[in-house]
Symmetry: C2
Subunit: 147 residues, 2 copies
DNA sequence: TTGCTTGCAAATGATTTGCACTGCT
DNA sequence: AGCAGTGCAAATCATTTGCAAGCAA
């Protein structure tokens, strides 16, 4: 998705949620768009120092409610945020257990299909209404493997 | 795994880590064993009121370092703990996005095999050393669907 | 004894919120 | 003008830790 299309999508989602697309929010979207995986609040503030932490927290909450971003918790104490799958497409995360960094990756459509079918079966037998799945790969990233 | 076997396994793991198998720790294991999914600290304290919160936190950390339990963060603000897969076998989680409750489930071995192969491929091309995967199904549990 | 464990209460740190100010509309 | 958004600083709340007393080797 191009930057302009993304912008339009975000604007539409915010409008649906009766929220404005302010400059702080634009800057947030742009910071998230720039990363190659979900970002922590600290990383976002470091990227764009003109954004105070409280504004980042508050706007990410609003953007999450509007369906623009997704909040992710891996294991460490910092929540991470990324653009919603609606905007970026379905994907998964490589989580480095050494440094905590998270990088996106995708799976073959055939594998996803197999997986979804199996998950649906499991959900049904547990009396569960399946909504979506979340798949992470835990391991060590290239940089940490070197060290 | 029977209760006694579990006990022996835990004892061995703690011994390897130069840790004692105290009565607090036994009570924790027993509480975790009783649940049908990972438990929050609050749930554990509610189950066994003789355990002070600080002891629960401290011992769960030690049990985690010894490889006896695993800490899980879903999305809400409470961490959850479960017995390590080494003890219970590989499984996944059904996470209710309404009430936050988590229940275990398993997938067919064939699906797991397909998945692992696909994940290994993705890891390699990202320069990542894969360790394990984590797969959750998000949705609504039977109780919350009723409401 | 000697050191690990416990339990209370106080400290920490990510996240949230009150309030006064600024800027859209 | 009138209300939403912002930024600072103070408040919250899960989690961690200091310390004195209890227990195991």
């Amino acid at each position: 998705m191009s930057l302009n299309d993304l912008d339009d999508e975000v604007a539409a989602l915010l409008d649906d949620a009766d929220q404005r697309y302010t400059s702080s929010r634009r800057r947030l979207i742009s910071a998230l768009q720039a990363g190659d995986g979900p970002l922590t609040i600290t990383q976002i503030v470091a990227t764009d120092a003109s954004l105070p932490q409280s504004t980042v927290y508050r706007n990410l909450t609003i953007l999450e409610e509007a369906g623009v971003v997704t909040r992710i918790v891996t294991s460490d104490d910092f929540a991470r945020y990324e653009l919603a799958e609606k905007l970026t497409g379905h994907h998964h995360h490589l989580i480095c257990t050494a440094c905590g960094d998270v990088v996106d990756f995708s799976l073959d459509a055939a594998v996803e299909a197999t997986l979804d079918k199996a998950l649906d079966g499991a959900a049904v037998s547990a009396g569960f209404t399946a909504d979506s799945h979340r798949l992470d790969l835990l391991g060590t990233c290239r940089d940490c493997a070197k060290a």
